[in-house]
Structure formats: structure tokens, C-alpha cells
Amino acid sequence: MALKNIKNKIVATKKTGQVTKAMEAVSAVKMRKSQERALASRSYAHAAARMLEHLSVTGDRALLPYIESRPEGRILLVLVTSDKGLAGSVNSAVLKQAEQYIGMDACDSICIGRKAVEFARRQLKGKVIAEYVGVADDFTLADVEDIATKISDAFASGVYKEVHVNYQTFVSTFEQRPTSQQLLPLKPSVLRDIVAGIRPKEGMFAGDESELMRGSDYTYEPDAETVLKSLMPQLINIMIFHMLIESKACEHSARMIAMKNATDKTKEMIKSLTLKFNKERQAVITAEVSEISGGMEAMKEV
């Protein structure tokens, strides 16, 4: 009986292993694509963040909807997670960072990804202003426009004093860094951190060039207001795009690793179960043999 149990267990573990292996293969493909995309868009995001940094220093009047600091108001939390689980600690790390907002009355949220929506509904006191579930892997800049507009509008309405974003930054396949930043009002120091954080790893922007450029006094063409009005939404859009694309790369990397670990673990388990199975079988055979020979001995004596 025990023999059959062990055998069933081995079969079940093998099946699980096949599933995780398939998931690993799928994730590996998605990971490669999303990593390529994330890394390719970094120089773009880097340039946009740098531009934002320079602009925020100028403190132009037309920038007011983006840089106005208010003494009081609510906090708007933007959470970026994946829709699906089974991706190691990638979502829990972001949500762990968001734990500081639990119990805060003056905190509303915009959620991207099902895990974030679930978290916000269950844990956060404020309301969920908008939720985005099922963002495709190959989303474009135009797809995130809606999110960016919602965020900018919410801030411009004057209800919120700060907009915080929580997402994952991609470091490598094995390492993702949960990141928490203040997006609005724009602060030069924060933007400088962002710029430093997204320096492409190939060293295209090696060296700290921000020192070089500080305090550029821009000429605007045609004029400051027109330029900033058309530019700022685009730049904010790019920042959101950057956050989403980084999170995607992290999600797939983490899932690939998690599935790889699971596959390895099933192999290990099958090995130890097989060993147990063989031992058990041996014991059964030995018992049978000794029974038979014992019986024969008994017959001889009669």
C-alpha cells in the first residue's frame, strides 16, 4: 500500500515538474523580450528624466501644475504590480513597501496590475481612483497616456499634495529592486535620483553629466507656455511608461527564476522519492522471500 502511495506521489511530482518547466520556458521567452524592451527604452527614459530635471529647476510659471508644493492634502499612491502571481517576491516586495500607507486615511490609489488592485481594496482605507488590469506585454507609449493623464489631472486638481509611485526596477535577471519615489510635485533632487537610477548599464551615459548642465536657462520655441504645455504631459507619460516597462521586465525575470527553482526542486524530490520507493520495494521483497523460506523450513520439519 505504501508502495503505491509513493508511486502516485512520484507521478504527481513529475507532472508538476512538467508544468513548471513549461512555464519556465514561456517566461524565458517573455523575459528576453521584455528585458530587451526595458533596456532599449532606458536611454529614452533617461533623456526624458534629465529634461524634466532641468525644467523643474527653471520653475517656470507654466510648470505650476507639476511643481506646486502644497502644505496639506491627500497622498496619491500609484502601485505597479503584475496581474498574475507565481513570480517569486516581485509583487510582495512592492506591496511591502506600500505597507506604510496602510491605515492612512488621506491616501488614495491608482492601481496597475491585479495584485495591486487586490491589495488596495483589502488594505488601504482611501479609495481606488483608477485600476488597470491586463496591460499587455507589448504596450506602447500611447497605451499609458490614460494613466499619465489621470495622475497629472488628479494632482492638478489640488486635492493631492504628493504623488508617490511604487514599482520594481530591473537590475538583472536575478535582481530586482523595489523602488518608491515621489513623482509629483517634481523635485530636482528626486529626478536626479531617477536619472541616476536609470543610467543604462552599458555605460552609454557614463559619468555624471548632471553637474555640467545645472542651471541651463532655456530658450523656448515658440514660447515657454506652449512648449511646456505640450512637453510636460509627454514627459510624465514617458516616466510612467518607464515604470511599467521596468516592472514588466522584473515580473518575467522573477517568474522565470521562480519556475526554474520549482523545476529543480521537483527533480530533487523525485530523486528522493524514487530512493524511498526502491527501499520500500526491497523491504517488501525481502519480507516475501523470508516468508517463503520460513514456510519451507517449517514444511521440512513436518
Binding site: 524592451r37 533623456a47 529634461m51 532641468h54 552609454m204 555640467l212 530658450t219 523656448y220 512648449v227
Partner: protein, 80 residues
Amino acid sequence: MKTFPLTIAKVDEALFRGDAASMIVPGVEGEMTILAEHTPLISPLKKGAITVRTPEGTELFFEANGGMLEVSRGLVTVLL
């Protein structure tokens, strides 16, 4: 001739990164030629062609479908 570091990037790829001798861009107010030590400038771009002349004298062309140009001290960036 003095050159300047130039980056032309699209969302999903960097089209040009390196030194350039001059660049002609379609600004909303008309075409502009950017040379080294241009005054800091920000301008949206309209549809048109971007011409980049490298220090070696070769000319490269890129298509602009809107976008933005930023010239800051010592660095020129075009986001398409």
C-alpha cells in the same frame, strides 16, 4: 569644426548616439540648424526630416513625426 554629443532616441531604440558636427531639425517654428555651443533651447518638433552631419562629413537622415528637442549646455537630445 567643433562637435557636440547628440542623442536621438525613439521609445524602443536609440537611433543615434555620438558626436555630431551639425544637425538640422524641423522645429514647430521652422527648420533650425544646431551647431556646437548652441544656446540652451527646448522646442517641440513637427513632422519632417532630421539631418545629422557627423564629424567625418557623412550625412544621416532620420524621420521625425513630432517629438522634442532639447539643447542644454554641451548636450543635445532629440526624443521622437
